[in-house]
Amino acid sequence: MTMVVLNRRSLLVAGGSVLASGVFATGVSGLLLPARANGLAPTESMSGGANNYRKGAAIVDRIGKGGFWMSGTVRRAGDGAPLAGQRIQIWAHTVEGQEHEPQSHGATLTDKDGKFRLEMPQIIPIFGQPHGHLAYDSGEFKTVFLRPVMRSAKDNSLEAHFVLQAA
């Protein structure tokens, strides 16, 4: 799923990284970034991704009564190697509760192929868009917050993919 999020924050971030890489390129002639240059780029946090985040959601078999599937992959930046056993936190406004409520939050671990899949209640449109939230924040890699949007509010699954870089 391709997602183009154009707004002031992402533009600022993009502009800032262009500036920063320009500074690095002139300063240390790109020595810090050669491996990444032709490898898999890390996923940037999406704007609004961390909204209504609650630290330390428990690992669960299923959030609430289920009926909706959140799935995705976790890979390493550069070589794209799948990352097993990574904890991904998931929350959303669903038919069983609002985004900020504890019962709307849960976490799961990636399998040996770097894939994760967690059943949760049906996501419904909130603040004008049917969307979910995911977080990687275990510390080994840099924290990433995602906010994927469903193509239709009637969808009963949603995907999000992480490419993590060393913290």
């Binding site: 609004g48 419904i124 004008g128 049917p130």
Partner: protein, 201 residues
Amino acid sequence: MILIWIALALVIGVPTALAAISEQLAWRGPVYILAGFAGIVALGLVLVQPLLIGGYLAPLSAYRGRRAHHWIGGALVLAVMIHVAGLWITSPPDMIDALTYSSPTPFSPFGVTAMWAIFIVALLALLRRRLELRPRTWRFIHMPLAIIIVVGSVVHCLLIEGTMETFSKAVLCAAVLAATAKVMMDLQVWRKRRTLRGEGP
């Protein structure tokens, strides 16, 4: 004469009624529901404003229409404040993102820009006499802001996926655009009227 009132009641009433029976309401708290309906009411008021000032709502006289336009303007400010406050209570981080123009939702900047335009017009309307704004100056300020309010509100509303039913929402938005375009053409707001009104230097 009665037709325009019936049309107005339908164009505002039908989308409001359809939103009131939306299944989405089942998953929302009372504050969020109030905030949503304040937004729908605000869009309805944005439709009433050009109709009043254009004198299309007979039997209201031009004078009464103008007076009503002022009061409806105040009601619009109130509706927008309830809309924003209710959404803030529902999800503070999402509302802060919207107000700081850093929201991931494409409709937010349109709504926030329209909100500021509404506040500026209301404030200037209150101060109009004290600032001794001449009609021509007032028109020069109010017309661009009115366009920002109308276009901002319409785009904001159309891009939102919420309780409103798509078709009735589109009809309401089209009516807002049409009423605004008609009154601006009828009153020739862009024409220099120096000679007509004797506002010469």
